[in-house]
């Protein structure tokens, strides 16, 4: 069976400041009709560039310096403009990463889909991608749809003209776990139904394991390994692939995975928290409002010294709001928050200096957390002098260098500007800055989300070491269950501002009591091709925390909020 897509020794280079920077080096791959090939690699590996060449598209300023791309037998880059347009119209279609940006904001959905050609009426297409009330939706504008709905519209647009090849560039990045799972299942169903050849670009090994038939691993523009999915996951040959697979946290890891040079993976057990550890910070019945809407409905939790408490939930669950409220950057509308050294109710600037330094926040996005115009050392020494930890300028600089080495970075980096550091390095400087006030509570707001898998593992391990060495109470916010499993001692699961389940990590992950927790766990994709599909048995439920008590206690601090199944299946409306 001849392949519908064949790329041989493709080279692409990007011109910047007079120098030619190679992005893709001699990449060759084949895709047969009906099969799905995944392009895997970290950011900057050139996977998106290769995918785009299938449609003859190159980013502004880059050009093909070698090799050829054939789609459906035709050399894409040799096609005249009109035939290239026909190819893009009918033979190969692409689903972009961030659908919100990829849809024209000033045009109704229906017209954009109709524009893509093909005989299928728009309403049927919308139905095919399982979108509710298709007729009414067609008249809406992109900004009026949710992330998941926008992505489904993009898919409808791609399959409108019945293409032979579907290119998916990180189709579900940025979507919540449950929505992501829904979109992936839709893609799999359409692929089989229409017999499409698909090229999936992703950095998420779970997505790849779930969807791809073959996998091609890219590193810095070069193909390091290509094999059938099962064989690659079970017996990776190339050391880079091995390390990549090893550093992905697994749901069933009892602790943090440590990966050595050769890629062997050992899981480090978590240190138990001493029973007598004092409570560093406690929140009781905290509520936070955004204008008229209430983001957090009466949440209570406590974090003891040396313990890592994880707040888990989808976007919009209020976990970041809680973190920022604790750090004093938002004022709660109810409930109390207290710390050994005083009441945390007041906003940070108004808290006494002694209390202020004790609770520190580490930000999610490493790029914007450091002042680009000041050296990294400056960013750390400023709080040192502000909080009085260091007396003079020289003392502050010297302590700053020591802190930088504490976060496992070369102190010589102190004079560099943030732009000259990698994402991981910048995040560690963020942590060093937080440590400057000698805090006893550290709040980590999704600090690993923006990082590549390998870098993520190191930062987590650093956090784990620090809380042990410095006996820190650590509040860890994340939506990635596998990461939480590895680093947290106790877990609190949040849904729309309400705690649905909490307890020790082993208990919650071992035997999830609440249906929502179970659904989250099931939707999380393990990097293991033969992981079970989405179990259909999770019943629909509705909250039942009524007058007769809120919690059912499952022992040893593991509690679940009352709920009851709902027998009549509500129309499966996708939010």
């Amino acid at each position: 069976m001849t392949s519908v897509v064949s790329v041989d020794s493709l080279c692409v280079a990007y011109r910047s400041g007079g120098r030619e920077v190679p992005v893709v080096r001699e990449v060759s791959l084949e895709v047969a009709p009906g099969r799905t090939l995944a392009l895997v690699g970290e950011s900057g590996s050139g996977k998106s560039t290769v995918a785009a060449t299938l449609l003859g598209h190159l980013r502004h300023g880059s050009r093909v310096t070698g090799g050829r791309v054939h789609v459906d037998g035709r050399d894409v880059f040799a096609l005249p403009a009109r035939e290239l347009r026909q190819l893009r119209g009918g033979t190969v279609a692409m689903v972009a990463q961030n659908a919100g940006q990829a849809l024209t904001p000033t045009m109704r959905i229906g017209r954009q889909i109709a524009e893509a050609g093909g005989e299928m009426p728009v309403v049927d297409l919308l139905d095919q991608v399982r979108l509710p009330r298709p007729a009414e939706l067609a008249r809406r504008y992109p900004h009026e749809l949710s992330g998941g709905q926008q992505q489904r519209v993009a898919i409808a647009m791609a399959i409108a003209a019945r293409p032979k090849v579907l290119v998916l560039d990180e189709p579900t990045t940025g979507l919540d776990v449950i929505t992501q799972r829904g979109v992936l299942d839709l893609i799999a169903a359409l692929r089989d139904e229409l017999g499409l050849a698909a090229v999936l670009v992703s950095h998420d090994l779970g997505v790849v394991a779930h969807l791809a038939d073959e996998v091609c691993v890219l590193n810095a523009g070069r193909v390091v390994e290509a094999a059938a999915t099962r064989r690659l996951f079970t017996a990776p040959q190339d050391p880079y692939t091995k390390r990549l697979l090893a550093s992905v946290p697994r749901l069933d890891d009892p602790g943090l995975a440590v990966v050595n040079e050769a890629g062997e993976r050992t899981v480090r057990a978590r240190a138990a928290v001493p029973d007598g550890a004092p409570v560093a910070v406690a929140a009781s019945d905290v509520t936070v409002d955004y204008g008229s809407a209430r983001a957090v409905h009466g949440v209570s939790f406590a974090v003891r010294r040396g313990e890592v408490l994880a707040l888990v939930g989808e976007s919009g669950s209020g976990k970041s709001t809680l973190a920022w409220t604790l750090a004093g950057l938002r004022t709660p509308s109810g409930g109390t928050m207290s710390h050994e050294a005083g009441d945390l109710g007041r906003p940070a600037p108004k808290r006494p200096l002694a209390l202020r330094r004790r609770v520190q926040l580490v930000f999610q996005n490493a790029d914007t957390s450091l002042n680009p115009r000041r050296s990294v050392g400056d960013a750390v020494s400023r709080p040192l002098r502000f909080f009085g930890t260091a007396t003079g300028r020289t003392d502050a600089d010297e302590q700053a260098r020591r802190l930088i080495s504490d976060v496992r970075l070369d102190p010589a980096l102190a004079d560099r500007l943030p732009a000259q550091l990698s994402g991981g390095q910048r995040q560690r400087i963020g942590i060093a800055r937080a440590l400057a006030g000698e805090p006893d509570v550290l709040i980590a707001d999704e600090i690993t989300t923006a990082l590549d898998v390998s870098v993520q593992a190191e930062v987590l391990r650093l956090l784990d070491d620090l809380r042990r060495e410095r006996d820190l109470a650590c509040l860890f916010i994340s939506h990635d269950l596998a990461v939480v499993r590895g680093v947290a001692d106790r877990v609190v699961v949040l849904r729309r501002g309400v705690v649905v389940e909490e307890g020790p990590t082993e208990a919650v992950f071992g035997a999830p009591g609440h249906p929502y927790t179970r659904r989250l766990m099931a939707a999380a994709l393990e990097p293991d091709p033969d992981a079970p599909g989405l179990p259909e048995d999770t019943p629909e439920w509705v909250d039942a925390a009524g007058t007769d008590g809120i919690w059912t206690d499952l022992g040893d601090g593991h509690r679940v909020r009352h709920w009851q199944p709902v027998n009549t299946p509500v129309a499966e409306g996708v939010s």
Partner: protein
């Protein structure tokens, strides 16, 4: 959508109120007592006092301000100190003449600059872009009176196609003024277009680099369809505000050009009223210009709303 317009209207009225206060205070600060200005030669102290009393100048400032605003609301701006005629009528007449220039200018400038801006944006870094950017740069660097002077040199003196100077008074009909409108309009259009071209070019480049344009291109659409259907509506949005600001600038910019062509417009009246310290006329012109500014901005906002569905459907939730 309605709530957005209402809020926008309320802030427009607020701005107008504030600028009327500013104008009133600024004009009161002008030196030279109004009464002595009128009486001139035989300004004996008692005659001055009598006139001040007659004009109500001895009343406290805020009382006079309230009278002025009440009058202004129904078109009565008091009487001019120089001509003795009703200020409202006079300003309306001069404004009408200037509107003639403004209309032609906006017609030339906006259409011309949008076309050029889009062209420059589409042919980025190629010769059309270089040519248009260079011309707009020079256009922006030369003040209106210079462009007007050069136009007079070329098209009135060397080639007597257009009148160098307007010989008619403010009450001249459109027929008499029409031949004299083209050069001032062209002078203003050159300067105004220069700004709009640069704005249009930047936003076209911005939009064409947007992801949705790439998606449209990867859907196999023709370049023309991509530009007109997908790129232009979003590209025009930021340009609208620059156009609105420039139209409002016309109320001031006209003064210099009208002085060159002795054109009986609001600009010329502004200059003469300041020279003669004709306070009611100055106040009236400032207020009218403020209204024009606010109306232009409002029009730009409403235009933006028409173009940008995100604003229009803010109310509807998912």
């Amino acid at each position: 959508m309605l709530s957005f317009t209402l809020r926008r209207l309320a802030s427009a009225v607020g701005t107008l109120f504030l600028s009327s206060v500013l104008v009133f205070l600024a004009v009161q600060a002008l030196p030279g007592d109004v009464a002595t200005q009128i009486l001139g030669k035989d300004a004996t102290p008692d005659a001055v006092a009598a006139l001040r009393q007659q004009l109500g100048l001895d009343r406290p400032a805020w009382e006079r301000y309230v009278d002025w605003i009440k009058g202004a609301l129904h078109g009565d701006f008091g009487t001019s100190l120089v001509s003795g005629k009703g200020v409202g009528g006079e300003v309306a007449q001069y404004l009408g003449n200037s509107a003639l220039i403004a209309f032609v200018t906006v017609l030339f400038a906006v259409t011309g600059s949008l076309v050029l801006g889009v062209l420059a944006g589409l042919y980025r870094d190629r010769w059309p872009d270089h040519l248009i950017s260079t011309v707009s740069l020079v256009g922006m660097s030369v003040p209106e009176f210079v462009v007007a002077t050069v136009l007079v040199l070329c098209f009135s003196v060397a080639l007597p196609w257009f009148p160098a100077v307007v010989l008619y008074g403010p009450e001249a009909g459109v027929g008499q003024l029409l031949p004299a409108v083209w050069l001032p309009a062209l002078a203003l259009a050159v300067v105004m277009a220069a700004y709009i071209v640069r704005m249009a070019r930047t936003s076209v480049i911005d939009v064409m680099a947007g992801e949705f344009v790439t998606t449209a291109r990867l859907k196999g659409l023709s370049t023309w369809r991509i530009v007109t259907r997908h790129a232009l509506p979003s590209a025009l949005l930021p340009t609208l505000h620059v156009i609105a600001l420039n139209v409002a600038w016309l109320a001031g910019g006209v003064a210099v050009v009208e002085n060159v062509f002795n054109y009986p417009g609001i600009g010329k009246l502004m200059l003469s009223s300041v020279q003669n310290r004709d306070l009611p006329v100055i106040q009236a012109i400032a207020l009218v210009s403020a209204v024009i500014y606010v109306v232009c901005n409002l029009a730009a906002d409403l235009g933006a709303m028409a173009l940008n569905p995100r604003l229009r459907t803010r109310g509807r939730t998912r």
